[in-house]
């Protein structure tokens, strides 16, 4: 089963042209900029990739939204390899447990997808406390990947997930490439597991504790190894704690990832009330929440111009405007994380609000909202970070 796939090297030298998905162009080939502002709006027919069919319709042409209101809005998102979400609102890893904790308070079946708590090969007991603290406009956490290990996760939750309508994406973490590969092997073929999201912001024990996510070669290598090990849809979560995220995103794309998640938390510390030591038990924590939204938007904006695979935006989504912002800079979907703690029903409400917003604008899909804030390009093919080629 695994042998038939071509080995994709981290450098991307042997990327087979056929690997490119055919229908998942996330950036409109021609963005109808100026003329979209007419009363009817621009009509993006079908996928934006159908470059020839994309054109703006003048006010005189086409039905007006008021005369022919669109009732059905298609919020579906294709993340590749068969992972099709009913809507573009996911819940972020670590903020929603295994999907069962919020019980009756949240209608989980309505979510686009659930990214479960970070899962490792063996059980981990996590970091010392305090593990979380509030910061201005955000929070710091250093849970330390406490989890019961992949086998226990599969045993405890997979059968429940298999009965769900909502896809569950298992977030996978590891300390070595072998760890990641082994976790993914044990998830392969398990009913109820719809995809993998790689948390590569973990120290690579084999490389002196350097994070996979901050080095293009390491990020590509771990992605390629996991790609060889599984047929499951594969998302890789980018870290913002790097000087330039683009070569890393490219390496991950070339290594065969189906989609990218951007971003993971920013590294930070808080000081304890007595000023005698940092507050968190682990000293360092990951910053999340509205405070990091501009950083997340920047990463999505850059990566969207670098790769052709879909990007799931995450970082400080607390209201519909944030969702629209992430879509505008090129994300095809968003994850809601920290905001769930304050408002568990937010993700489901955002789905409704996004649908209503599309209806209000006379759109039959949210696709027309994707990439509108990206620099306009004359051709359909992106430069795909050509400047980084040797």
């Amino acid at each position: 089963m695994k042998a038939r796939r071509r080995v994709v090297t981290a450098s991307g030298a042997a990327v087979p042209a056929k690997r490119r998905p055919t229908v998942r162009r996330i950036k409109p080939a021609i963005v109808p900029v100026t003329r979209r502002d007419g009363p009817t709006g621009g009509q993006l027919t079908g996928h934006a990739a159908g470059a020839t069919s994309v054109r703006a319709t003048g006010p005189a042409e086409g039905p007006s939204p008021a005369a022919a209101p669109i009732h059905e809005v298609d919020l579906g998102v294709d993340l590749g390899r068969g992972l099709v979400l009913r809507n573009p609102v996911l819940v972020a890893s670590g903020t929603f447990g295994y999907g069962i904790e919020y019980g009756d308070v949240v209608d989980v079946q309505r979510l686009g997808a659930i990214c479960c708590k970070g899962t490792t090969l063996r059980a981990r007991s996590g970091n010392p406390t305090p593990r979380v603290t509030e910061t201005p406009g955000g929070m710091l956490n250093s849970i330390g990947l406490q989890n019961p290990g992949v086998d226990a996760v599969v045993e405890k939750y997979a059968s429940t997930w298999a009965g769900w309508q909502v896809p569950v994406i298992v977030n996978v973490a590891g300390e070595s490439i072998a760890d990641y590969v082994e976790v993914v092997r044990r998830l392969e073929g398990v009913p109820g597991i719809a995809g993998i999201e790689l948390n590569i912001s973990c120290p690579n024990v084999g490389k002196g504790g350097l994070q996979f996510a901050i080095d293009a070669e390491a990020a590509g290598a771990v992605t390629a190894a996991v790609r060889r090990a599984t047929d499951l849809p594969l998302l890789v979560k980018l870290s913002p704690n790097v000087a330039d995220v683009r070569p890393i995103a490219r390496a991950i794309e070339d290594a065969g990832a189906d989609a990218l998640t951007a971003i993971n938390t920013l590294s930070g510390i808080a000081v304890g009330p007595t000023r005698e030591r940092p507050l968190l038990g682990n000293v360092f924590g990951g910053l999340s929440g509205p405070a990091i939204k501009p950083v997340a938007l920047k990463v999505v904006y850059e990566v969207a111009q670098t790769v052709d695979i879909p990007i799931v935006g995450i970082g400080g989504v607390t209201e519909l405007a944030d969702v629209l912002d992430f879509l505008a800079v090129g994300a095809v979907a968003v994850q809601v994380g920290t905001a769930i703690f304050a408002d568990p029903t937010l993700p489901v409400r955002l789905i409704d609000e996004l649908g209503a917003e599309c209806r209000r604008r006379g759109l039959d899909s949210h696709r027309a909202l994707i990439g509108t804030a990206l620099p306009k390009r004359a051709t359909a093919t992106s430069a795909r970070g050509a400047e980084y080629r040797p």
Binding site: G94, T95, F96, G97, E101, Y102, G103, D104, V105, K117, A123, S125, G126, P128, T129, P130, R131, V132, T133, E134, P136, G137, G138, M139, N141, I143, Q146, P148, G281, G289, P290, T318, T338, A339, I340, F341, A342, D343, P344, T345
Partner: protein, 286 residues
Amino acid sequence: MRLAGAELVESREILPGQWLQTYRAPDIIAGARAGQFVHVRAGDYSGLVLRRPFSINTMDLATGTLTIHFRVIGRGTAWFTFLRPGDRIEMLGPLGRPFEVDPRSRHLLLIAGGLGMAGVRSLTDEAIRGGRQVTLLFGAATARDVYPSSLLPDEVEYVVATDDGSMGHHGFVTELVPEYEGWADQAFACGPLPMLRALARLAATRRDRLGVATLGRKRGGGRPAVAGSAAARRKAFLQVSMEQNMGCAVGACLGCVVKAAAGPPVRVCREGPVFAAEELDWAGGW
């Protein structure tokens, strides 16, 4: 667990920097038990991204109200003091697991340190309703921080210790425990970690020191209850209500854990906040 609106009925500063607020929240307190808590959203949504957990201090099913008791320690807690009667906020609750009182226990010893009063306060009401005798040992730094006895039911025997001797016993509240532990069938505590640690040590050696049998254990018969189960906690002499920085409060984020005597760290919001003392690892730093 429910998500419901709550309307502020009354708000007052009962001690310097400490507030007691009454909210009408009938949906939240329906079925709630002593020891459980609510997770409340502060209103400045842009800056404060986390809810605040508060023990349910008292409950009144007749009026559908509950009270919370808190100290102002930052912008979030300060925000609550700006609310006026009639203002509405949103609560998630009841959360966590309650105190487990053995049906045969007649004498309950409650030990509270400082704001830990909020953790055990509702148990006084529940115990007295159940016809039990309650002795409440309370420790504070000075007399001005001592919880007013007027806010306690008349039936409670209230014994105070202050660190500076300005009221009651001069010293730690834990020093009062040996006097009562022979009388008590069960003990319930909430307060600073050093206090709970000292109490856990006392409870662990209680059997040897007093030569008493562990409560409710059938001689040579019956299956031992699973550690952490309600049945096992009912048989424990000491139950403690733990505090920890909290994220989600429903068990999803694993932010609020404490070290367990065996197995992975346990969640204060889900397995707790009430634990039998022997479930936890008191030697560790966290």
